[in-house]
Symmetry: C2
Subunit: 164 residues, 2 copies
């Protein structure tokens, strides 16, 4: 059982799932306040994890690859990018993706530190926000370091994985 190991990538890992609707809690309910959510309709959920040693250099390539890959099924059945669909993007920080199996638990020794991770994550979100310019669609994102509470409807999550 301990032989199974998680994937190791150099800079970061992105997981993509196509969605019809995705809703992420960005602030939990508190005494006097209701929970807060962000939501997208048709588009793509991008889960992001950075590893130790990741630098800003990889961000433009990540953004360009993820937004231009033809992974979205258009109405005519043709595969197009989320930019061409056009679809919205929900970016979810997901440090758990960097876990490696150690016995019956997961360890995260390869993950980037919290401050660097937050900086890279925020920079990645900004790059995506600049690239998604169609008025019909939007970029939403979770808060780095928070628990991510996600509800999602898909037409097949059609899950893809990319290393950077």
């Amino acid at each position: 059982m301990t032989e199974a190991r998680a994937v190791s990538a150099s800079g970061g890992l992105a997981l993509l799932q196509q969605c019809l609707r995705a809703k992420l809690q960005v602030k939990p309910e508190e005494e006097q306040e209701e929970a807060q959510f962000v939501q997208i309709d048709r588009g793509m959920v991008i889960y992001i994890c950075f590893f130790k040693g990741a630098t800003d250099d990889i961000l433009p390539k990540m953004m360009s690859s993820l937004l231009n890959l033809r992974l979205c099924e258009s109405v005519s059945g043709k595969m197009v990018s989320v930019l061409d669909l056009p679809g919205s993007v929900l970016i979810v920080p997901q440090a758990t993706l960097g876990g490696k199996v150690k016995g019956r638990a997961m360890q995260y020794h390869n993950n980037i530190g919290k401050e660097d991770g937050k900086r890279l994550y925020d920079a990645f979100v900004s790059l995506c926000e600049k690239e998604v310019t169609s008025e019909e669609v939007t970029v939403k994102h979770g808060t780095y370091g928070n628990r991510q509470v996600l509800n999602m409807d898909t037409n097949g999550p059609y899950t893809h994985l990319m290393e950077f």
Copy 2:
């Protein structure tokens, strides 16, 4: 953009997401028939992809690792396995996980052939069904080769990745 590459594993890849409820369409709507679904409540969604050359040898280890890893948050906040929670399991075939970037498209040359993939997938499902014996929970699964239409509520998908 073409430098980004997807993860390559030897036998198979499993992606795990924790869920509060997950519902998978297993048969699409047809003229005289409504769509059919399987559903679990609290538990874990296991997305499975096999690569070329994968054999039955890896299945017992996969099953044992995935069901015994402490990835589920119990009511008391302690991390326990899906077997100990106890939680249900939804197994989703997800060949897209084996994709590698080629230009702006994904290629699946490393994926196992359809017949071998179906055989391994069905055998993996059987192994899980034998292991999940608590009466409170259940194992549900999608059909290999079909489009997987998934709806999911989570308390943080808490996504993990394992190679086999």
